[in-house]
Symmetry: D2
Subunit: 293 residues, 4 copies
C-alpha cells in the first residue's frame, strides 16, 4: 500500500559498498529518508525547510513526513478533516482523564501528554486501524469478483471469527448516531465526485453499516473511527498509520484538558471525589503469621 | 495572559447551588469548558462538531481547543507555521531516537509516541516555553519605561542570574545559522505590517540576538525555539502552551521516524551497532562476600 | 492458574443488591481486593500494614500484592532470585539507553523510568511471558499423555507455526552461554528436591534446550528469560505477570542508569556522538511546488 | 553524599589518552560503571552475576545497582522496609487509577506501568525526595552549631519561604495518623541503638513533627513519605533516589492493580461510571462563522 517509503532496496545497494569503517557503521545505524541535515541545512524528503515554511500547512507537513511526498490540495483537505474531527471526546475517555490527572501530579505538559497518548492501545486507539484493515479486506474480496454485499458479508464474518463481535468503527456506547460520521462521509463523497479519491471505501463503509443494521433490530451506525478510517483508506495510508494519526489528533484533546486542569488547579487529582472511598471486596482483617513457612 | 479560559468564576456560582448530591459531586469532579456531550451531540466551546467539519483546519481546531475561541485567518496561519516548522530534527535528538528504538520493541505506535514525547522535558522541550517567558519579561520592562536595549540587557541578566548561561531560543550546537528562524520571523513581520499581530516580540527577539552577538566574538543567532516562541508570544499563548504545542509538533517527527523504523525492521534496536560494546569504567572483577556483614 | 484473584463471583452477588445509589455506583467503579483503607487503617488482602512492616521483605510484598496471599519461605526466595537476576543488561538494550537519554532531557527519574519501562513490549519484554506460555503448553501435552520429548517437539512446532522461528527464552545474540541460566535452574532444582516446587518446568526447559541444540549444529542455550520463566511457571504466576515482574526487575537497571547518567551530566544526550550525523538515504534536494495541485 | 559513583574523575584520565578513533568514541558515548559485559560474562560493579544469584535479595541488588557496593545486613533490611511499605495506597491515587484504566485500553502491563509511574512527579511522587532535602538542611544547621529545635525552626521557615506551606512528609489528607510511620521509625531506632545507623534523621523527623504539632491546634503527624525519607537519609541515599526508589516501590501497586483490573475485565474504563457525564461549564451552543476573519 504505502509505496512511498521503501528503504529496503536503497539500503541494499549501500550494503554492497566496500567494508564500512566504524564511523560509517555508526552513522548507518540511524539512516533515514525523512531528514537531511547539514550545518545550516534542513530538508525533509528533499524539500528545504525554508521553502516549506509559509507555504505548507501543519496537516500537509504531517502528510509529507508520513508519505515522503506532498499531498494534493484535496488530499490535504481530507487529512485536515480526519485530524480535526477526532481531537476530543471528553474526560470520560481514559486517555483524557489521565491527561487531567497527570497535570496535577507535578509533571510537565509533555508528561501529561505521554501518559495519555500511551493508552491509545489496541482497544482505546486501535479501532481506526482495524477498520481500515476491514475495509481493505472487503475491497480485496470485491476485486476478486464478489458483489459488494457478498464481500461485506464475508469480510464481516471473517472479522468476527478472528476478533470477536465488536466491529471496529461501528456503533457507539454513548451516541445513538455519531454526529461526526455523516459530515466526514460527505467530504469524501464530494471529493470522489470530483475525481480526487476513489469513493470506494465510503461505499464499503456504508454497505457495512447497512449490513449491521439489517442484521439486528437496533441500528449500529458508523462512528468517528469508521468515518476517519474511510478517509485514511481513501488516502492510501497503511492501517497502522490510521492509529498513529489518531494519536496525533487525540493529543490535541489531551493537551487541552491537561491545560484546563492546570488552570483549575488541584493536587494529585484522583478519579473520584475524596469523599468516596473505593469499595473493598477482599478478605477481612487477618494476622500476619509470625514467620513464613 | 490567557484570558479565554477562566473556569474559576463559573465554578463559584455552581458551588453556591443547593447541597450537591453524590451524582452531582461525581460529575462536577470532571467539569470542563472544552466539550459538551449529550447523546448525538458534540460541541467544542459551544460549536457543534458537524458545523466545524470541513470548515476548520487541524491547526485552527488546535487553536480552538487551547483558547476557547476560533482564531482569525492570520492567527491560524501563524500557528500553522509554528507547528509545521518544528516537526523533526532527526534521530540524533533523543526523542526521535527513542521513537525509533521503541518501534522495534513490540509496542504500538502509540507507545513509541508516548516514550518519545515524554522526554520533551525542561531541557529537551522547554526552550520555547522559556523563551516566551524571557520575551514577556523584556516586554514588561519596556512597558515599565525602559528603552528596548536596556530592557533586553536587564532581562538577559536576570535570566542568566536565575537560570544560567544557556539562553533559550538562541544558539544551536549544530547549525551556525538555523534555516528556520528567518522565514518564520518574516511571516510574523508581514502579519505585523498588516496589523494582524503587534510585531513586538519579533523586535524583542531580534534585539536579543543583536545583544548576544555583540557581547561575544561568535554570533549566537536565533534558533527554531526562539522563532516559534516569537509566534507563540505574538499569538498570546501562555508560556506552558509553547511547550505543549511544541510537543504536538514534534510528535509528527516521532511518528514518522517510528513508522520508518517499523518498515526498516529490526528487533530491540539499541543506540549503537551490536559490534560495539559500551565502555565499562567500573571496578574490576571481585568476589561476592559469603554473607553480608 | 491464578486462583487467588477471582473478583467476578464476588461482584455478582454485589450486583443483586437493591438498586445502588450514585455514591455506591461511584465507589463500586473502583472496587478492589488489594487494599482496604479507612482513616488510620491500611490493610493489604486483610493484613494490616503495621504488622507487615519489619517482617516481610520487598519481594514477599510483591508476591502478596500479585497473589493475594503471602508466599512460603521457599517461594519467596525463588521470586527474589528471578527479580534480582534480570535487573540490567546494559545500555545497548533500548530500555536502558532510553532511561539514560531521558535523564538528560529535564524530566524526573519517574519520567526516565516510564519512558524506559514502556518499551518492554512484546519483543523487548515479552520473552518471559511467552516462555511461560510455551512451558504450560508443553506441560498440558504431557498431562494429555505425551512423553516429554514428544510434548516438547509438538509444543515447539505449534509455537513456530503460530509465532515464527524465534523461540522465547532460548538463544542470545550476545552470550554464547547466558551466565544467569544455570545458577537459576540450580535454585529451582534444589527447591524441587526439597519438595517446595514441582521441578516440572525446569525439566521441560532443559528438554527444550536439548531439542533446540540437537536440531542444529549450533547450540541454542536457555537465556535469562527462559530461566526466570521456569521460576515463574513453578511459582504458578500467570504468563502476563512474568512480563509484569520482569518490568519491575528491569526498572532497577533503568533507574540505576538514569541516575548514573544524571551524575555524568550532559544535556539532550542522543544515541551517538554529535560528530556523527545519521545517514540520509532519501531524495536529493528539490523545490517545493508553488502551489499544491 | 553519594560517594560511590564518581565517574567524572575516571573519565578525565580516559580523555587524556591518544586521539580516540570512531569506534572508541562510540563506545565511550555509553560508558558505565554499572555493568561489565563480555560474551558469557555479566558483572555488576565487579561482582559476577553467577555469584550473586541465590545470595543476594532483590532489595540488596537494588542497593548494589544504586550505590556500587553491597549493603550491610542492617542496611539491606531498612531498605526492604522502605520499599515494601509504600507499594500502594489504592485507586484514589492518580497513579493507580491510571494503571487500572490503562489495563483496559489494549496496552501490555509494561504500558500500564509506564503511564502510572510517569505521573509520580514533583507533587505525586516527590515528597520523599523533598523530605530528605529538608532533613539534610536541618542536619547541616545542627552541624553549624544550632540546637535541634532552632535548626528545625529555621529549616522549616526556610522551606516554607522557598516552597510554600505544604511540608513534605508530614500530614495526610486521609489518615489522621499514618499507620506506616511509627513501625518504620521503630525499625530505624532499633538499628540506631545497635549502631547500624546514626539515628540522627529519626530525631530530626520527630522534632519536625513536634514543631508542626505545637504550631497548630491540629496535629500534623509524619506520613509514609516522611518516614521512608528518614530511612533513605539514614542510608545516605541522595535525595533524587528517594523519589527513584519510591517509583520502584509504587510500581508494585500499579502492577497489582493493573492486573486485578485485567481480571475484572472492562474495555476503555473511564474514571466514572458511564451513567455520569462530566459537567459542562462552557459557552452555550453557537454557530461557526462562515469564514474566519
Amino acid at each position: 500500500m504505502n509505496k512511498v517509503l521503501r528503504p529496503t532496496q536503497q539500503r541494499k545497494s549501500k550494503m554492497t559498498a566496500p567494508k564500512p569503517d566504524a564511523q560509517r557503521l555508526t552513522e548507518d545505524w540511524w539512516r533515514t529518508r525523512i531528514i537531511d541535515m547539514k550545518p545550516g541545512v534542513i530538508r525533509y524528503f528533499g524539500y528545504p525547510i525554508e521553502e516549506l515554511i509559509g507555504r505548507v500547512s501543519f496537516a500537509q507537513m504531517i502528510w509529507l513526513l508520513m508519505r515522503g511526498e506532498l499531498p494534493t490540495k484535496a488530499q490535504g483537505e481530507l487529512l485536515e478533516a480526519a485530524l480535526m474531527s477526532a481531537v476530543d471526546h471528553g474526560p470520560q475517555a481514559p486517555s483524557i482523564a489521565i491527561a487531567r490527572m497527570a497535570a496535577t501530579c507535578g509533571v510537565g505538559l509533555n508528561g501529561a501528554l505521554a501518559s495519555a497518548v500511551n493508552v491509545l492501545g489496541d482497544v482505546h486507539g486501535g479501532a481506526g486501524e482495524q477498520a481500515v484493515e476491514l475495509y481493505l479486506d472487503i475491497a480485496r474480496r470485491e476485486e476478486a469478483g464478489s458483489a459488494i454485499d457478498e464481500a461485506v458479508k464475508a469480510g464481516l464474518e471473517a472479522f468476527v471469527a478472528a476478533h470477536g463481535k465488536v466491529i471496529p468503527g461501528f456503533g457507539h456506547r454513548f451516541h445513538p448516531v455519531d454526529p461526526r460520521s455523516e459530515p466526514l462521509l460527505a467530504l469524501v463523497e464530494r471529493a470522489a465526485a470530483q475525481g480526487e479519491v476513489s469513493g470506494r471505501y465510503a461505499r464499503i463503509a456504508r454497505a457495512i453499516e447497512a449490513a449491521l443494521s439489517s442484521d439486528k433490530s437496533k441500528r449500529i451506525p458508523m462512528n468517528i473511527d469508521g468515518a476517519t478510517a474511510v478517509i485514511y483508506a481513501e488516502l492510501e495510508f497503511p492501517p497502522p498509520l490510521a492509529r498513529g494519526l489518531f494519536c496525533l489528533s487525540r493529543s490535541v484533546g489531551a493537551l487541552a484538558h491537561a491545560w484546563e486542569q492546570t488552570q483549575q488547579g488541584g493536587r494529585i487529582k484522583g478519579p473520584i471525589p475524596r469523599e468516596f472511598i473505593p469499595s473493598y471486596i477482599g478478605p477481612a482483617q487477618r494476622a500476619v503469621p509470625t514467620s513464613l513457612s
